[in-house]
Amino acid sequence: MFSQGFLTSQLEKAIGWARKYSLFQYPFVTACCGMEYMATAASHYDLDRFGAGFPRFSPRQADVLFVVGTINHKMAPILHTVYEQMCEPKWVIAFGVCTCTGGFYDNYATVQGIDTIIPVDIYIPGCPPRPETVLDGLMKLQERIQQSRQEF
């Protein structure tokens, strides 16, 4: 393929390829899942292999919002604001069962799934999820990014 010195692709596919391998994440860490997030991000499991090794601590510079840990009703408006501050295109990963459904916190304080506040692309259940599960979720997100229509 390379013997002739060029290769062809569709612009949309090329952009999708670029986007899925340069995910700047914003970790919104509130609880114990953060430990598992750190274990996944650090060198042993190495999120950098997937092009997502660069956490940004401003939502304005991030592509994917990792919501890691229990979200309560007092925190919900803050999460909503953080999501609104992110630039398009943006994706959201619900990390851990608390963010997916509220988990076992069926009480006055806890949001029963962050998808009641912001749209979610990938749900990673588990209490906490194993790093392998997180990486699987991340790869599913990459697939989704590659297959979606690219706005640019």
Partner: protein
């Protein structure tokens, strides 16, 4: 029954009229006192050189709604003396309608946040508290979630479905 500890004896000497009940179990002393006497008792515990309770370890409350008691709430204080190495638990029964109690935040600064928490969770008002507002829940929250008559899964969201503003999420 073993003889009473120094603290219980001292309290009984000074506040005989205000003590409703005392008991000791395996070295843990408890005194149940009338609500009116809390500041006087706390002052004595702190300032009496033999007692020297310099550390307020905990201040919380119990909702006795289904426990068959005459009172609705109990406010519970745990004091410890770092120099004398002894501790005491003080309980104060309160009625259910507008429970109020004098603040001890002027004696132990640490009582400030504890009393705000008890106000937030149980709705017990502390008279003379410098800044009695919610500490854990948000200002918009109505009611007191650790009261037994607060519905167990009643939620008061600020955003999303069920919130006052009904902020669109998508």
């Amino acid at each position: 029954m073993a003889e009473d500890s120094l603290t219980l004896t001292r309290l009984r000497d000074k506040f005989a009229a205000n003590i409703l009940e005392t008991h000791s179990f395996r070295g843990d002393d408890t005194a149940v006192i009338q609500p009116e006497a809390i500041v006087a008792v706390a002052t004595c515990l702190k300032n009496d050189p033999d007692l020297d309770y310099d550390f307020l370890m905990d201040l919380t409350a119990v909702d006795c709604l289904n426990l068959g008691t005459a009172h609705r709430f109990e406010v519970v204080y745990h004091f410890f003396s770092l120099s004398k190495k002894h501790r005491i638990r003080i309980k104060v029964p309160l009625s259910g309608k507008g429970p109020e109690l004098d603040s001890i935040a002027s004696l132990w600064a640490g009582a400030d946040w504890y009393e705000r928490e008890v106000w937030d969770m149980f709705g017990v008002k502390f008279r003379g508290h410098p800044n009695l507002k919610r500490i854990l829940m948000y200002e918009e929250f109505e009611g007191h979630p650790l009261r037994k008559d607060y519905p167990i899964s009643k939620r008061q969201p600020l955003v999303g479905p069920g919130s006052p503003s009904q902020t669109p999420s998508k």
